[in-house]
Subunit: 432 residues, 4 copies
Amino acid sequence: MTKPPYGLLEEEKVFKDPVHRYIHVRDELIWELIGTKEFQRLRRIRQLGTTYVTFHGAEHTRFNHSLGVYEITKRILEVFKGRPGWDEKDRLLALSAALLHDVGHGPFSHSFEKVFDTDHEEWTREIVLGDTEVNKVLSHVSPTFPKEVADVIEKTSPNKLVTSMISSQIDADRMDYLQRDAYYTGVSYGHFDMERILRVMRPTEDQVVIKQSGMHAVEDYIMSRYQMYWQVYFHPVTRSAEVILTKILKRAKELSDQGYDFKQKPNHFYSFFDGKGSLEDYLRLDEAITMYYFQIWQDEEDRILSDLCVRFLNRHLFKYVEFNPNLRMNDWPILQDLFRQADLNPDYYLVIDSSSDLPYDFYRPGEEEERLPIHLVMPNGKLRELSRESDVVEAISGKKRTDHKLYFPLDCLEDEREHKEVKQKIRDILNV
Amino acid sequence: MTKPPYGLLEEEKVFKDPVHRYIHVRDELIWELIGTKEFQRLRRIRQLGTTYVTFHGAEHTRFNHSLGVYEITKRILEVFKGRPGWDEKDRLLALSAALLHDVGHGPFSHSFEKVFDTDHEEWTREIVLGDTEVNKVLSHVSPTFPKEVADVIEKTSPNKLVTSMISSQIDADRMDYLQRDAYYTGVSYGHFDMERILRVMRPTEDQVVIKQSGMHAVEDYIMSRYQMYWQVYFHPVTRSAEVILTKILKRAKELSDQGYDFKQKPNHFYSFFDGKGSLEDYLRLDEAITMYYFQIWQDEEDRILSDLCVRFLNRHLFKYVEFNPNLRMNDWPILQDLFRQADLNPDYYLVIDSSSDLPYDFYRPGEEEERLPIHLVMPNGKLRELSRESDVVEAISGKKRTDHKLYFPLDCLEDEREHKEVKQKIRDILNV
Amino acid sequence: MTKPPYGLLEEEKVFKDPVHRYIHVRDELIWELIGTKEFQRLRRIRQLGTTYVTFHGAEHTRFNHSLGVYEITKRILEVFKGRPGWDEKDRLLALSAALLHDVGHGPFSHSFEKVFDTDHEEWTREIVLGDTEVNKVLSHVSPTFPKEVADVIEKTSPNKLVTSMISSQIDADRMDYLQRDAYYTGVSYGHFDMERILRVMRPTEDQVVIKQSGMHAVEDYIMSRYQMYWQVYFHPVTRSAEVILTKILKRAKELSDQGYDFKQKPNHFYSFFDGKGSLEDYLRLDEAITMYYFQIWQDEEDRILSDLCVRFLNRHLFKYVEFNPNLRMNDWPILQDLFRQADLNPDYYLVIDSSSDLPYDFYRPGEEEERLPIHLVMPNGKLRELSRESDVVEAISGKKRTDHKLYFPLDCLEDEREHKEVKQKIRDILNV
Amino acid sequence: MTKPPYGLLEEEKVFKDPVHRYIHVRDELIWELIGTKEFQRLRRIRQLGTTYVTFHGAEHTRFNHSLGVYEITKRILEVFKGRPGWDEKDRLLALSAALLHDVGHGPFSHSFEKVFDTDHEEWTREIVLGDTEVNKVLSHVSPTFPKEVADVIEKTSPNKLVTSMISSQIDADRMDYLQRDAYYTGVSYGHFDMERILRVMRPTEDQVVIKQSGMHAVEDYIMSRYQMYWQVYFHPVTRSAEVILTKILKRAKELSDQGYDFKQKPNHFYSFFDGKGSLEDYLRLDEAITMYYFQIWQDEEDRILSDLCVRFLNRHLFKYVEFNPNLRMNDWPILQDLFRQADLNPDYYLVIDSSSDLPYDFYRPGEEEERLPIHLVMPNGKLRELSRESDVVEAISGKKRTDHKLYFPLDCLEDEREHKEVKQKIRDILNV
């Protein structure tokens, strides 16, 4: 018996959502996608990685956020419906891409990808195109549908309009995460008038554009983004936990490379230590699995691995000082050497972490990261790049801000039972 | 060198909290307690167990809630300060008990306690009195302080006033969880004017009482509680996940009792299977550990264990029908037998779950669960029990509401490849 | 040149509204109605009369509220669209009636109607059917349209469904004012999940009914209403201002009846003093006009009129005590007499004010005020009256609560320069 | 009998406030000031003048706002208490100045002051120092206290710290109005983390400064201010109503100057027409009085006065076009002449309105409007001007933005029954 094509659900399903009040699902396709095990797995991956150590409310998951991006996209489509420039046949493409755009994220993606040299965007592609429940559901729409969805998520799709709805400088993804992360952390940034922005979005062949009358709401959104980056996403305490997490993974890999005999084999990680992790291996990973290993590694013989895991779980984080990459050049080898003398491996206990953000930019041809600018539709129908109309946006356009910090275990440096003098020297240099 | 007694922190510490805006810590004692590994462990235990499968926002942890109860208690103390009936020397006792009242909770406590016959209140006592970081910190106040805190949490303390601040029908615990759970789930219930309630709370020898002018705010709080129980806490879908979770633990224990050879030894659970779990064993448990086992058990040989784990992780839950415990009496053995014929072990696949709540009650001497009623202080200084003043509260006082549901895997019953007829019979009886 | 029939506006108009975020107008008809001078006049009539003396935020007007009722009705219609039982041709009828349902309100309606024996419902009818801009706009739809709108507002329309949207125990009017009045006063009552209620409303021939799954949201709404009545609408301080206001109007009328020579003629009021106020006269009245007279009457010779106006403007209100209409029977003539002896006219300075509310009722045939009950549609399609399903609603159904208070100028009674002994007697009786 | 000096109220009084939740009054002095008739009069003067014609929620009054500024000041004082640099004896000075800072505002101050050449700051001084209830209450503190309060409000006080709490670039006044005006209009701007800002405010001899850790909250506040100015305060529709209002007052004055015989004498205005308004005259004025005259002037013989009043009351506003003061130079006399030909007096019907705002500025010696900049206290204790630390603030510092619009009655220009050709010419020039 052939399964009939997807249609509408008999009765609309609703999810209670604190950010958008309700998330509504009418399409069988979407309902089926949500039910796949690859999508349900997002319930076990936090949206903001280690941010919860700084903002205790930030325990929400990517499942949460993905539903939110879907809902915003659905609302954009309600505005587009019937307008010139919008083809209703792209509806399910936009909704599916919105829902699945983060499906390839793994546990603590940022650190994981750095250590194991993988990329969540590639995993997303594999999940959409590979032998998965997600692929089965998408293929039921049409044999080419999974590829179309993957292309939108990867920004290689010829359908630039749909692509810009999911990823551009003002897209459903950002609009959801700014509001959602603000809600769960409780910070007062992250608010902007999304309802207004949705109402002034207009479809064009190349991208979503904004009616000029909505410029101030967009300004407010850009400022929200700016504040969220520096107040929440790049919070130095969060980065301290992230630094430790990265070093745990790095140490475990290094030990494995050296043939270290783990008390309990880290089976879930071996293939990644070897750079051969399969999709199946990847999908088994989540934050519960990762935290399980961190916990048992507390009892490992290796002092570094065990110490870092104790620190991570019990929130004994590294302290930090501002770090000027130029000025400190000469100090660096000296510092590393002093750490070694103090019996602290500088590869793990003296860490530079840099964050940088470019809150908004217009198109700068030839530059590394070309960004599609936000365009306003003026009353006369012409398009105009946002920063030409907005003083505030103009002021921050293209201004990359970078912050360098040096992380280290201050508690060890203050423990004067051993290496008292060398630790004093270090503290003098670090001025702590 | 002797450690100096706890005093005030040089600089107040603040936590950003979405429910109370900020949580402020000035006491070194409180700061030290928060930093203990037993308290940090609460970050790995969700506040609402399996509720997140129904309300995706409900991913917040007991760490979150415990800070909230502390903050509310702190605000009550600001109102009490200087009032007759309040002794400022009990301040740290109240704050410590508030912070630690849930420290003994384990992963998915409700199911865990049912299957392994333990009790989070006993664990709390052991954590406070045993060989733990928490105990060390508390003992630094005075040798008897841990016992005083434990007694308040256990409600055996002679200090009835402080006890009633932490556990009574209107206490800091309930006021926090109603608001917090409403915030994270996004439901519109759970709101009441806490600021008003705090301002009308007054200390008496026996309990916290409420100025009569605040009666309506209290009514609103009681109604919030009523709505939250039936709309959130007892949601039938949440209970379905809870049923499955309980059956997973039960199956694992049963298999272990039978000497089943697990592919990977569930070391974290063995002592609990045997009823011999130590405090150390218990503190190792958290929801990450539990989820780790659920995930690897998906690959176990035992079909029941593996099926239940797959269901839990991928949210393939049991369906339910209303169940009238009297009417169905006769059907019950028949149903069980039909399940067996359909190759579905009724011990795991046919489950009655009952929830009941008594939203408010006054003192009924001799009854099973004697509850301290809420008292209003009238303008003339006399106390009056709440339900005598409030029509609305009177209407629901002492009215226990119970709900029985029967859970089963509808998908299996609809799979007609095998046992077609017997499954049809079952569906006829269940009317599904 | 004939004016073309009303259609859709070229571009939707939006009003920023703090309660519903935005109010959207697409219909030319609605836009024209909002622009009429009779509707704009509602900007000069407060929604909550004298409540602002108690809750300083309650300065919003009936213009505000009327737009809100329109918006909610519009949202209900979006749910109804395409459902059996709803005829899209009634759309403009529902929207117009929603917008205009309060257009006949005058300044401080409650007091005004009591003193001058008029009725805002009659004035609404006259505005809709008489020689007004509103009538002109409505007549442009069809010659019978004004009458249809008036009938809906008056609840005499054969269209019971549309009538129940505007006035029933769960209608757009109440849903707006509970939320709006809560918002502007700042009280924490008045919140309920309107979005949920709207989604479960269903049209039937006789009335709007509610899907059973939405019962708890309706319970919450009923409780909000209950709390708002006693916490806000019947606040004793508000009623004190209302008592004084009523007595000002009564005194002015009485003086006019007696041929009193006002320093400045109260031209706006004469026809109402004589019971002959025309629609034109009525439309000239608003709260600015009323306050103008109150201000100039502060300088009138008549001591009572001038004193009451000073009290009203400077918020020197009457105090109150609880009043038991039965117990005090005998005291009443004595009290009145004592007031006279103390040179305080009891007709103006000793006032009983009673408020009573019936938060919800089902149909009780033959009773004075027959109310259409709220019906739930059960999963089997049958209707069931709300209180039969909800314990909480059942508990308060049909329970009328009445509150009697006695108002008087305590300041005068405490001024012992004259009538010291008689004032002491009064204070003893009143126990103040 | 001598009245005892002011102390604390027996029981704290609270006002329910939607913005700050509760406003608390413990000081008898403050309670007495709120009760004065000059302060109660602020209930009859809207906070945002004609803004309600654009944002219908903006009906709140200066009474509202004044309580809010008092409450914020009280909260700042709670932070200052006990800190070096703060002298608790200035507490009542700060609270009184906060409460009274706007007490001199009249009806629609902006227009009123422009036409009658008065200044609300002078009136405030007169109210504080003159023969008023406010002065009596203040004098009861000490004979010099009224003068001290007036000096703070006028910014001539030697107490620069207290002055900066009430009026500076980050003061209690602005913090209240931004939040309050956002709340009542319903716009999503105007939110910032005031609780955070209050916690990082520190007293110094010269002004309130901000701990550097709170810089981002201050940035957010500055951006809120920027958005509120352009989105709310300078909204072109509001300014259209303001233009008409100004012209009504101007016309009435002009007619009076010409000896015009008003049907009803505008007694409340005569002394202001003549530039001789006394404090007593001024205190009689409020928005009810003003609206009363606007209503009766609708029936005046003078066509301009009557037309403008009809427009104002029924919201038949002027339309506008952008106006470039340079480019249009030559057109201007031509336009004025064409208006005259079209029988439209350009003095009333062709109006340029300019708004300009400087969202933040640092000290620029010698410039017209020297502004006290916001200073951050760095961790090393040094002060640093805000824009040197904040990119965003730096970007908008000192950038005055000005907007010129030309207002005119488009309806008249489109009425082609008379002067068809000249009106066509005007429309061509104005491009409407």
